[in-house]
Amino acid sequence: MSLQRYSALLGLCIVGSAVIIAILAPYITPQDPFLQNLDGRMLPPFWFDDSVPSHPLGTDQLGRDYLSRMIYGARISLLIGTLVVICSGLIGSTLGVLGGYFGGRIDTVVMFLITCRLAIPLILVALTVVAFVGSSLTVVILTLGLLLWERFAVVARTTTMQVRNLDYVAAADAAGASIRHILLREILPNIAHHLVVVATLEMALAILLEAALSFLGLGVPSPLPSWGLMISEAKDYMYFSPWVIMIPGVALFVLVLGINLLGDGLRDWLGARRDV
């Protein structure tokens, strides 16, 4: 087994365990993540001598159990990552496939939309949206989902252009297939492996962006336990209790790394399978 395989397997383990933890969150959290206990604020995690066994990762500035909040935070990160990728993937792939297949004027419009999208500053849009409708989980998902489609569109467009000219597309045409059939059965399945790789990259990006937006106060509103928000709330205490910022920071790093490793592995695996 090569080193690449190991790293892909590591990615799979990280993402897999994050998904399992997120799904089982209500059953495995030791405490209620929203329960405040002002007598037990800023308790240290288990590797300190004065830690408390009932709070393995300590507590935050309001005395909420940090481990429980981390577990629920994984839920929010993955939920946002998945929904944003589905939303942006649908928009981007549709635009890209249409532009790549039909070419001409439709392609010009698609390219114009991609260029426009690339010129939109994401943080400013998030700021504006939050200013108008307030912040919520739905707003974060929709904002990111409606903005992160450009890579899907670019990749879908170029790969569609390659596949469109292959003989089996012409053969389907000669066998009386409709445009819908050609797009959904001939083109899409044969560019899907590229889109899967883009999806993992976009998912990692969405999770990091959510953390950044939450840190800036433009993302998930308190008291929801988002990792980005936890870092933001902990920044006042980082000089005296560095773990409050370290734990969600490391978790973000590990999850994003795992998704990227998994994406690399998928690319190699799907690529190799098709070259046979």
């Binding site: 001409g104 292959l166 003989d167 089996y168 012409a170 053969a171 389907a172 045409d173 000669a174 066998a175 009386g176 297939a177 409709s178 059939h181 059965r185 001939e186 399945p189 044969n190 899907a192 098709r274 046979v276």
Partner: protein
């Protein structure tokens, strides 16, 4: 079946009638100029010519599959008595794959890598006939065994990359036969295959034709294939049909200088003296743009005269034999005498 048109003779209409077909790409290239041909039921009509003479474009134009930039016009384009020129894209795609099917040149890339052989074959029938999937699969399996594939049940569940080139071409033929087409257009179906497989595929096509009464329009540049398969031959040069005759007549009495040149290029054991040079045609096919008149072969032709620059009409050489040249039909015999 469509009704016979008023004023049509009582004899059955030819399966495919093409009259004066023209295809141009922009103003500069006329890929096909004035091609006329007919394919009868149960007949193999071979379209021969060198690369770039417009054979493939002709076949694509008949199927209505030309790329967007191409412009097609014709006086007559009729399939089983039905006019194809006025047909909407929707009605045309109902015919394609159902009553007229096509086999492509490249078996390695003509199957969708994402689906199994069986699912791709069944789909054609599900689409055109609304046949239930299980029934369509059964027919797919039957046709696979028909085209000489052993263990069809195993092959149905396999993906294209698990099959060799010869097997894939057989699959393509079986797929084209799914809806029992009346016309099969085969665009160089054996070019990408090695010689033994080529012979098997040709034998297969000929057998299927006899059994099913198919009309085949076979496009090829290989005169060996023509000699083997053709009932009727049309020789194309620079977008025009320059000679058209029953296969036996064409091989016995080739009349157009280009046809004669082509035949002289084929090595036949015993025909040439030891050490003599095999024939070749000097020069290459000219690119024909708008405003070109006369015979396109004149620059490569040893018999060319001034009158080759004017319009050259089709001449009858007797016996259902037509050629586009100013020479009399018995000129070669006159030369020999």
């Amino acid at each position: 079946m469509s009704d016979p048109l008023p004023g049509m003779p009582a004899e059955p209409a030819p399966l495919l009638e093409v009259g004066n077909l023209r295809v141009s790409f922009g103003a500069r290239v006329d890929a096909v100029r004035a091609v006329s041909l007919t394919v009868q039921r149960g007949e193999t009509h071979c379209l021969v010519g060198e690369s770039g003479c417009g054979k493939s474009v002709t076949s694509l134009a008949v199927m209505g599959l030309l790329a967007k930039g191409a412009k097609r016009s014709a006086d007559l384009l009729r399939f089983a008595g039905q006019d194809l020129l006025g047909l909407s894209e929707r009605d045309l795609s109902r015919l394609r794959g159902d009553r007229m099917a096509m086999i492509f040149q490249e078996p390695m890339t003509s199957l969708n890598p994402a689906f199994t052989i069986g699912s791709q074959m069944a789909e054609v029938m599900q689409r055109h006939r609304g046949t239930p999937r299980a029934e369509a699969m059964e027919r797919a399996g039957y046709l696979l065994s028909k085209v000489g594939i052993s263990n069809p049940v195993l092959r149905l569940g396999q993906f294209p990359h698990q099959l060799s080139g010869g097997l894939r071409q057989r699959v393509m033929i079986a797929m084209a036969l799914m809806c029992e087409p009346e016309l099969l257009i085969a665009d160089e179906p054996t070019t990408a295959l090695d010689v033994t497989v080529q012979a098997q595929i040709l034998r297969l096509l000929a057998g299927l034709q006899q059994e099913l009464g198919l009309g085949i329009l076979l496009i090829t540049h290989d005169l060996g294939v023509v000699a083997r398969m053709a009932d009727r031959v049309s020789v194309m040069y620079a977008g025009e049909v320059v000679e058209s005759a029953p296969a036996a007549t064409l091989f016995a009495h080739p009349t157009h200088p280009y046809t004669r040149g082509l035949l002289a290029c084929v090595p036949v054991p015993g025909r040439l003296a030891r050490g003599a040079r095999l024939g070749s045609i000097p020069g290459s096919v000219p690119r024909i743009g708008a405003g070109f008149a006369g015979c396109a072969f004149r620059d490569r032709c040893t018999y060319a005269t001034e009158s080759c620059h004017g319009t050259v009409a089709m001449q009858a050489g007797g016996d259902d034999h037509r050629y586009r040249c100013i020479l009399p039909h018995d000129w070669s015999e006159a030369c020999a005498a």
